[in-house]
């Protein structure tokens, strides 16, 4: 008798989880289904999650009818340069904060921790007012500077936390074996810190990919938009019937991030928790 109760409970639990997972995914499934649906029957109440007439027309319209490829190019330029420059700047800084002891180190660290809680939106106007006399508004260079500066603190803290978790004995052993300082760092420490470097890079990439508020405020003209700013400008208004195209664009924009997220997931936990800060 007890086993029957247990079986029934387990079946109920599985039904519960299937229902919850489905409910959670509804907004995404709905967008995917609308983007693939041929007849725009979105006003009818006979909607189903499986498209009745399958078509890729909306995707064709997004990729060739909108400057999406241009936006993708802009985003890639911004993302790659931000990731490379912030890693080049943050790795040596984080190393020195973790391994060396010198005057001003504690001041830097407590300053960084304090600034980490500062939301970038609050100083947006000041940044605008500072960059505009330098002619950096509406340029990629201006946005790259902003993205690197905003993520520099996260990069330093996250990498420093991970360097802290690598035992110093490994470096000492390498030194005893005759490796000099630079050699120790390049061929011993950096390979060990790979998960944290990957995660920090991925976090900068995701940040740049998803950042829309600076991009729409500082950039004018469709040709300068990033994917995020472009998607923002594509939004369906209450009147227009562009919602299926917007849905297709959302899928196109999200796919690379979903792939990167699930590919880096293995490193995500160790690379983020050791640093103790979440971007």
């Amino acid at each position: 008798m007890r086993r029957i109760y247990e079986r029934a409970g387990l079946i109920l639990l599985n039904i519960f989880f299937i229902a919850i997972c489905f409910a959670v995914l509804i907004p995404i499934l709905y967008a995917v289904s609308v983007s693939l649906n041929g007849r725009n029957s979105i006003f009818g109440s006979d909607f189903s999650f499986i498209p009745k007439t399958f078509t890729l027309e909306n995707y064709r319209a997004v990729i060739f009818g909108q400057p999406v490829l241009l936006w993708l190019g802009n985003t890639i330029i911004l993302a790659v340069s931000s990731v490379c420059i912030s890693l080049l700047a943050a790795v040596p800084g984080a190393y020195s904060l973790s391994r060396l002891r010198y005057r001003g180190r504690k001041t830097i660290l407590s300053g960084l921790l304090m600034l980490h809680s500062f939301p970038a939106i609050l100083s947006m106007f000041a940044i605008y007012k500072l960059l505009s006399p330098m002619g950096l508004i509406n340029t990629k260079l201006g946005l790259i500077l902003i993205y690197i500066g905003t993520m520099a603190i996260f990069g330093l803290l996250n990498l420093k936390g991970y360097f802290d978790s690598i035992p110093i004995e490994i470096e000492e052993a390498a030194r005893i074996d005759g490796a000099n300082g630079r050699r120790t760092i390049v061929s011993v420490l950096l390979p060990l810190a790979k998960p944290a470097i990957i995660v920090t890079g991925v976090m900068v990439l995701i940040y740049v990919w998803n950042e829309y508020i600076y991009a729409i405020t500082f950039m004018t003209g469709e040709s300068n938009y990033t994917l995020a700013a472009g998607l923002y400008s594509l939004q369906a208004t209450e009147m227009s019937g562009s919602w299926p195209i917007f849905a297709a664009a959302s899928v196109v924009v999200s796919l690379p991030i979903l792939i990167i997220f699930f590919a880096a997931q293995k490193h995500m936990v160790s690379g983020l928790t050791a640093g103790g800060v979440k971007g």
Binding site: I28, L130, E238
Partner: protein, 300 residues
């Protein structure tokens, strides 16, 4: 002595690039914001602004209908509701996921991760245009299928606030569930056997054993979430306050309020004063949360 000095020098050289970026994009703009907050800079006084002292602070903090205090109150309510709901729901979900004989646990976990993996602003825009849209949104399609009148989800203050809350929970719960799940798995199972022998019921076991056992493990993640919830901008801005596409609901958190005053009503001095007040609040929270957790010091 000389060697020590050289070490200090080379350590600083390592730090200079990153600190220069942070300094020019974060620190200097904060100082400049503090300066603007003492002036009457607005769209009429773009270049010929004058220093007016603490007037902006006084009007933000003492004039009740200036909107800042209302936004601050709403932000506190928003943070409190979000944290309570997140902790309770994540605890229940993680407990259910940890029931021993639940086989397809991994599939459920992966599916539940999706809202976290999706780009946040895309999800929010999908909610706005796909679910809440008064004409072709899915919710109103369902309502009309049942013969009810369509609802303008994001127009009224209370309803729009609830919609924002739902979307934020949808975005934030996966992270919290994963944290709870990890914490629950680290609890020693033998405690429960002893408690069961002593005749403690399910509820008593959760309150007396599980909650105290997981509290220290989830504490850092909870503090981080507390900050991100207080600083939440995207959900409320994208759902209700988009420039040129406001839905009519008058709900603001402190961040959307500061943004509105800087870029919509162009009241730069006032907006900067609000920004500095928020920054000071955040710093004092950060200091408080550090005093409460002395174990944190080993990080430095």
């Amino acid at each position: 002595m000389n060697g020590k000095k050289r070490n200090t020098l080379s350590a600083w050289v390592c730090n200079i690039p990153a600190l220069a970026f942070a300094g020019s994009i974060v620190v200097f703009p904060i100082i400049y914001t503090a300066y603007i907050s003492l002036t009457n800079m607005n769209v009429y006084h773009w270049f010929d602004f004058a220093v007016i002292g603490f007037k902006n602070y006084i009007s933000a903090l003492s004039v009740v209908d200036s909107g800042f205090l209302r936004a601050l109150g709403l932000t506190v309510l928003w943070t409190a509701l979000n944290m309570i709901l997140q902790l309770v729901i994540a605890f229940v979900m993680a407990s259910l996921l940890n029931i021993e004989k639940l086989r397809p646990r991994k599939v459920y976990k992966t599916l539940l991760m999706f809202p976290w993996a999706m780009p946040g602003y895309v999800s929010i825009l999908l909610w706005k245009n796909g679910m809440f849209n008064p004409q072709f949104g899915l919710l109103n399609q369902w309502l009309s299928g049942w013969g009810s009148e369509p609802v303008r989800w994001l127009a009224g203050d209370v309803l729009a606030f609830i919609c924002c809350l739902v979307v934020n929970l949808w975005l934030a719960l996966p992270f919290m569930i994963m944290i709870m799940d990890g914490a629950l798995q680290s609890v020693d199972k033998s405690y429960y056997e002893n408690a069961m022998l002593d005749g403690a019921g399910w509820f008593t076991r959760q309150i007396r054993l599980t909650v105290p056992a997981i509290t220290p493990i989830i504490a850092p993640a909870v503090v981080i979430t507390l900050f991100t919830t207080f600083k939440q901008f995207d959900v409320i801005y994208l759902l209700t306050q988009q420039v040129g596409a406001k839905t009519g609901a008058n709900i603001h958190t402190v961040l959307t309020y500061a943004y509105e005053n800087a870029f919509v009503t162009n009241n730069y001095g006032f907006s900067s004063a609000v920004s500095i007040i928020i920054f000071l609040l955040l710093i004092s929270f950060a200091l408080l949360s550090k005093i409460r957790r002395p174990g944190n010091e080993k990080n430095i």
